[in-house]
């Protein structure tokens, strides 16, 4: 299906229109239970995101990059992944984490300013969030190379923003992937901004998807506010990766509904009208309309899902806030496999100092 949508011709894969009507022949045909599970993950993501913003305002969580508007990209992509696949995230990926089963309490704990939240639970193939923009991309390619070497039939997924496509790491990583035909799925969440800098300032190319052409593998642009389009493209790209057919670049065309982070004020560089325009294309609303048409959604169901999302989120907050802060040992122990004497001395001194009750 991917090859039917040529980014060089300005074609974009979209399954659902804004009224939630599915295009004939493009609906990935998911079972009802999975459709509802996707909806529930999207709602959980939005609820958890709103909660993070609230906690930040109350001083209970640090600087935070909100995900609102990206629920279809994140949940659509992660829902298509398998348990053995690997994921190299960026910093705006809440729905990926929720869908892949990363404990929300850990995620909150991290954004509350604790490194323990970055420790991926055993059994999950998720690398830690990369904050230096684009730096995770070559790493994902390396994991792809290793999967090939180990003859594993898995895919390695990495996400990044439109801004990241301007970094050398993006170009070097995708070039590597093309040369070695690695089992990678590169997913660009093109949300039209890198902080204040608009997408047009990142590239003179008409699409980001078309950049794949130059690296010798397929690229496709999908409607990033259409969870079924993201799912369909991801499922096919993942299958291609696992079966040795090489990498794919997916550009999810979407919009960052919130500020870049809680330190940003997007009103300085974009208009209310533009934001309102995108509000109408809300990914959750669109999918809800689709579910409604299929008889899978009604008010009672919505209420249950909302309540369960709220409960899920509150539990995670309580758990995260109950965790102890890092001890001096926690901060020193993981610097090396074995602590060098100088570090031992510094740790001892710090502890003695804290023992005196002072900083």
């Amino acid at each position: 299906m991917i090859e039917l949508f040529d980014p060089l011709k300005g074609e974009r894969l979209r399954v659902l229109d804004e009224t939630g009507e599915a295009a004939p022949g493009l609906d990935p045909g998911l079972p009802d239970a999975e459709l509802r599970a996707i909806y529930e993950r999207m709602l959980r993501t939005r609820t958890a995101d709103a909660k993070a913003l609230k906690l930040q305002r109350q001083g209970r969580l640090g600087t935070y990059p909100p995900s609102r508007g990206h629920e279809a990209c994140q949940v659509g992509l992660a829902s298509a992944m398998g348990r053995d696949d690997w994921f190299f995230p960026y910093f705006r990926d809440l729905g990926m984490y929720i869908t892949l089963g990363y404990p929300l309490a850990d995620y909150y704990h991290l954004w509350m300013g604790n490194e323990a939240g970055l420790r991926t639970p055993d059994g999950l193939n998720i690398y830690p969030i990369a904050i230096p923009v684009g730096s995770q991309i070559p790493q994902a390619v390396g994991a792809g190379l290793a999967a090939k070497y180990r003859k594993l039939r898995i895919a390695v997924v990495t996400t990044f923003g439109d801004g990241a496509t301007s970094e050398g790491d993006f170009h070097e990583g995708l070039n590597f992937a093309g040369v070695f035909r690695t089992p990678n799925v590169f997913v660009c969440l093109n949300n039209q901004f890198a902080i204040s800098v608009p997408r047009a300032r990142q590239t003179a190319a008409a699409t980001i998807a078309q950049k794949a052409v130059a690296y010798g593998f397929p690229g496709v642009q999908v409607d990033g506010n259409d969870v079924l389009a993201v799912y369909a493209a991801a499922r096919e790209a993942l299958a291609n990766a696992r079966s040795g057919q090489g990498p794919t670049l997916i550009e999810a065309y979407t919009y960052r509904m919130g500020d870049h982070t809680t330190s940003d004020d997007a009103a300085r560089y974009r208009s209310k009208e533009e934001v309102q325009e995108w509000e109408r294309r809300d990914p959750i609303l669109r999918f809800r309309l689709y579910l409604g048409k299929k008889g899978l959604w009604d008010e009672a169901y919505e209420k249950t899902v909302q309540e369960s999302a709220a409960e899920f989120v509150e539990k995670a907050v309580a758990e995260a806030e109950a965790r102890p802060a890092a001890t001096p040992e926690d901060l020193f122990t993981y610097t090396y496999a074995a602590m060098p004497p100088e570090l031992e001395a510094q740790l001892a001194e710090l502890k003695a100092f804290l023992g005196e009750g002072r900083r």
């Binding site: 801004g163 204040s196 926690d330």
Partner: protein, 324 residues
């Protein structure tokens, strides 16, 4: 006018851009948004998109392109959004910015000023709190400057913009809005390569810079209450270093303490201590001590205070020095 360091930097940029049309500001979010810390606020409206360029998210190209601009006589002021994101440009800085004068026997020089916020103390995200100034100080050809007050920020930045050598201008995020100070309206230079004695004292010398200066002042005030007079030398230009000023101070006081937020090992404290050993050994009444960041990855916000040298840690070292 009374202003913050952000305003002082902004005014220095505006005044120099007015005076010298070779100056071009470029970087991420420096234009319409006025910079994530607002240091370039208003410049886009005043000087236009050709002189205040919102660039793609490409540190290597921001610095690399700035080098190319200097070839045709411009004086670019690239901004790297945080020091933690300067590394994609490290190749351009180390392999070219620092060396072009030497490689071309003076035919090509690189009069650019790379501005970047740095340092801990504002509870920022990962990679936003490191102080890796020593990495740059080890590269011959670079001038590394750190202001500790609004007044110095304006004067040092103007001197940097007028310098014919490339300058890495590190702006302590903690100080951006911490303190307001009277800053003269007219342009002025605070000379590069010149340290300043910012507090006089007879018993020991504290050598520090940037965000550690106010912390050292707090410690010095506490020491004063115990009858100990601490002199504070603000290095201001870290490289090439003004050794004479702190050596003269240590010769007077006989005791030296270096304070920096960077890790201890191979930090500038080592260079300073070695210089004191070479030049003032016989004046010393005690070993040179260091109060620094730990030799660990800078912790995330919840634990940041365990890393960052505070007045109490400095006071403790002062007492230890006085015990000799």
């Amino acid at each position: 006018m009374i202003m913050t360091m952000v305003q002082a930097i902004n005014q220095a940029l505006a005044q120099e851009m007015e005076r010298d049309d070779r100056i071009i500001v470029l970087g991420q979010d420096v234009g319409r948004d006025g910079g994530v810390f607002r240091t370039t606020e208003g410049l886009f409206d005043r000087f236009g998109p050709e002189r205040v360029m919102d660039t793609p998210l490409s540190e290597s190209a921001i610095v690399g392109a700035s080098i190319g601009m200097t070839a045709l006589g411009l004086r670019p002021v690239p901004e790297v959004q945080f020091m933690g994101f300067i590394y994609p440009a490290f190749n351009q800085i180390v392999s070219h910015v620092a060396r072009l004068r030497n490689r071309t026997r003076g035919r090509f020089t690189v009069p650019l000023t790379i501005r970047t916020p740095y340092g801990a103390g504002v509870k920022a995200l990962e990679h936003h709190s490191e102080s890796t100034e020593a990495l740059f100080c080890q590269i011959p050809g670079l001038t590394v400057v750190v202001p500790s007050s609004p007044y110095d920020a304006k004067g040092l930045l103007i001197a940097s913009l007028r310098s014919d050598d490339p300058v890495i201008f590190l702006e302590p995020t903690k100080l951006y809005r911490a303190e307001k100070q009277e800053v003269p309206e007219e342009p002025y230079e605070v000379p590069l390569r010149r340290a300043a004695v910012v507090r006089e004292g007879k018993d020991l010398t504290i050598i520090a810079w940037g965000a550690m200066i106010p912390v050292a002042r707090q410690a010095a005030a506490a020491a004063q209450a115990e009858g100990i007079g601490a002199e504070i030398v603000d290095l201001r230009t870290l490289s090439p270093m003004d050794r004479e000023t702190f050596v003269a101070s240590v010769r007077k006081t006989g005791r030296a303490l270096v304070v920096h937020e960077a890790p201890k090992t191979c930090g500038l404290g080592a260079e300073i201590a070695a210089t004191i050993g070479e030049s003032a050994l016989l004046s010393l009444d005690a070993p040179v001590l260091r109060v620094t960041g730990q030799d660990i990855t800078v912790p995330l916000p919840k634990s940041e205070d365990l890393y960052y040298p505070g007045p109490e840690r400095i006071l403790r070292a002062i007492r230890r020095l006085m015990e000799y």
